[in-house]
Symmetry: C2
Subunit: 476 residues, 2 copies
């Protein structure tokens, strides 16, 4: 050992000495005169770099989302409730109001562009996963009841939303927005069901394989597809100038959907199917990611939103369950942990509960919630009852369909960006999404209690309400 240590020590000493000597000599050199790099950043130690700001935002946002998510799971609510609330608390409604300096240093205005972009990337990934989890094949042989219920559960709230717009338009539509897009959008906001939240709730309560559960999930799937199609049309109309241009956008969107469904889908399934199904290789993963981004880019350029393209790609992926599960694991876990909380935070930054500062605006907000619930819960319940379902089951189905969750927030942000929603109606609709999502669990419990008290013969096996102890946290 000594035999190696000695030459080693000599070696280090000689070189370090030589380096110091050269450094000393070099100090006397004339100063360099090359052009400085253009991006030369401030050299202050500790100054917040854009990367530092982003990392700090991620930490605060993710920790807040996880804490609030746990709290809401503890009170028997889906985690998404807590995550949305965390986003709102970090915005002007609480943090910006209580500690404006902290808020400004955590979310400086020059960082919002990046935050928005990352939130959008998160939503694009999320919509891809929603598409992946949507099993359209299962809709083929489905009971007509489910179809009728699901369309009724869109039409009634949509109609009520349009009627409500008559009342709200003057005071809540931004100047310059015509009545038709505003009303069409209010209709959408009233009739959305959060397919992913619904799936998690059913899973947590062990309802997935019951008649109630499968009807609900089918209705939600039809709802999702219908609502996103209508939204795409609204976006096309909203973005385009004039009828011809919006017609062109709708036409291009329809052709793209046809292309994806009839050409790209089968081709992709053939290409991916050639390799071993199951665990996707790195090449397949890259291929899927490029498809996803390419499709999102296409719909963005067509003039409907990038998230439609992402959703479409998810839908046309091969149906092998293991393949989908592996894809979900690779793309969704990190995205659900990191990106979606950023989306909630970004939505929260836009949500100014403080704008509801008069009794009148709170009354309007209550009206929005009442109309949303009457339309969605009432509409689904009435249609289910008419098609022969028992009253309590119809009520439970209505409560499930009334869940709006994250999907509603995504749609609301689209409307906000289009300039269709003013900040005040945006805040009201966010509250509506929260309240309707929150009320699902208590309403289901109520249906269950009534059923037991009435001793009505239970027409499903597993309807007992199990408080959530799921290992798979709801992420939407």
């Amino acid at each position: 050992m000594r035999r190696t240590l000695l030459p080693y020590a000599v070696l280090v000493l000689v070189f370090v000495g030589a380096i110091i000597a050269v450094l000393g000599h070099g100090k006397r050199l004339e100063e360099g005169r090359a052009a400085a790099p253009p991006a030369a950043t401030a050299l202050d130690a500790g100054a917040a770099t854009p990367l530092g700001t982003l990392l700090a935002q991620i930490i605060v946002v993710v920790v807040a989302a996880r804490l609030c998510g746990r709290l809401s799971a503890r009170i028997g609510q889906p985690k998404v409730i807590g995550e949305i609330v965390a986003g709102i608390l970090l915005g002007p409604s609480l943090l910006g109001w209580v500690a404006p300096a902290v808020s400004l240093s955590l979310f400086p205005s020059n960082s919002l562009g990046t935050l928005k972009l990352l939130a959008e990337v998160g939503v694009v990934l999320f919509m891809f996963v929603v598409g992946l989890e949507l099993d359209l094949e299962s809709l083929r042989g489905v009971a007509h009841t489910a179809l009728v219920v699901s369309h009724a559960s869109i039409l009634l709230p949509y109609f009520l939303g349009v009627v409500l717009s008559l009342v709200l338009y003057r005071s809540l539509a931004p100047a310059g927005v015509p009545f038709v897009p505003f009303a069409l959008f209010m209709g959408i906001a009233m009739s959305i069901t959060a397919f992913p939240v619904l799936a998690r709730i059913l899973e947590e309560r062990g309802l997935t394989r019951t008649p109630l559960g499968s009807t609900a999930i089918t209705c939600a799937a039809v709802d999702d597809v219908t609502a996103w199609s209508i939204l795409a049309i609204i976006v096309a109309i909203g973005k385009a100038q004039g009828l011809a241009s919006s017609g062109l956008t709708v036409l291009m969107a329809a052709s793209f959907i046809g292309l994806m469904w009839y050409v790209v889908g089968p081709a992709v399934r053939w290409i991916i199917g050639r390799g071993a199904p199951g665990r996707p290789s790195k090449n397949i993963l890259a291929f899927v990611l490029l498809m996803l981004i390419g499709s999102a880019l296409t719909t963005e350029r067509i003039g409907i939103h990038a998230l439609f393209g992402a959703f479409l790609v998810g839908v046309v992926m091969p149906r092998e369950a293991t393949f989908r599960a592996e894809l979900v694991q690779r793309l969704e876990e990190v995205s659900a942990i990191l990106f979606l909380p950023l989306f909630f935070a970004f939505t929260g930054l836009r949500t100014q509960i403080g704008l509801l500062d008069t009794a009148g605006s709170w009354l309007m907000c209550l009206a929005v919630i009442a109309v949303a619930t009457a339309g969605k819960l009432g509409g689904s319940m009435a249609a289910a009852r008419l098609s022969g379902m028992g009253t309590l089951d119809a009520f439970a189905l209505g409560a499930l369909m009334n869940t709006r969750g994250l999907v509603e927030l995504i749609a609301l942000n689209v409307g906000y960006e289009l300039g269709i929603l003013s900040p005040r109606i945006f805040a009201m609709l966010v509250l509506m999404a929260l309240v309707t999502t929150f009320s699902t669990a208590p309403l289901l419990a109520l249906a269950d209690r009534l059923r037991k008290r009435r001793s009505v013969p239970v027409d499903m096996e597993n309807a007992a309400v199990r408080p959530s102890a799921s290992s798979r946290p709801p992420q939407s």
Copy 2:
């Protein structure tokens, strides 16, 4: 079926009719007068949104990186060569020079901030994975030879780099940068070994378990840790104003490293070890991600770079092989496909080969490459020879240590951002990284041919050069 269809049709018609009637009525309403959303975006269909720009960049960059990566794999080179070249081709050196309009519309200047941030996020994730794959435990019982070789393989190129700075300083250092940081940085640039590229090369050639392979990987690991420590000190000096401030930064960095190593590391291993090892749960994944971001943020705020913190967290993770592999799979696959190509593209946007427009600057570039190779290849070879290795093996080891790859690019970008490197020396050093990485495979093949011709008894079993057919693409 007709019994459901008829009421269904009636239902749809009634509601759609009613909605149209309300819309018609609402058109006559007075226009809304709420405040418009502040972020109201341009409503032109087809206008490039920030999201659209980002998606387009990702597609072009990822496709280019994968194509060039495949090409370079086909000529027996690690894929990283092609990926780096793809980045350079997309920058001002080719695309910006041949088609400036395309370049400007693909990389508009207002998109570069986000691109840079995403590239940095990619590098932070990458350094975490480098830390994960670095097995410090295996260094415990290692031969002193490896230690001597590895330090010699830093000291000689470092010394030569400092000497070379004497020549280059006046013409290539940016105005205002003193000699000492410039020379210290040139030393770093000369002495880096790309640990991950090296690991992939060894794997592809089946050398991992040979004496040559294990010596090389050990040396590279020691190199990595040493070089990053020196770089952290340089960054601390470069960023801080005055000696006291830079001393404080170094002190804080050292304390943080100590904290991570002696306190956080054991704690983390205990916390994660309590759960089942192997497949990390979603909670564990979130915990690891928060650790990673928190540590990166801490080092960024201390004044050394975020990537040191990420690297440190990777190093202190639990050693269970399955746990690490699962983490790598979840974090690295998407990152290697999406983010690292963005880093190469961003580096390429900074690399202006066109700045080497005189015979003199090409001569300087050649000198840089010659000194880098002489120092790293020569230094490692001499030390290995002196410690008793055969000449050809020592040569092969030198060739392996001369691989600089992606790790060099990361260091170069740090130097560029600090303002220590002018655009011209940056371009030269990028070329040097490319050439030294590129030359590893031919030099290894040469060593092999010489060995066969001389019929020197081969002192390892698997040294036959197998052209890469690895299913695991090199990603650095």
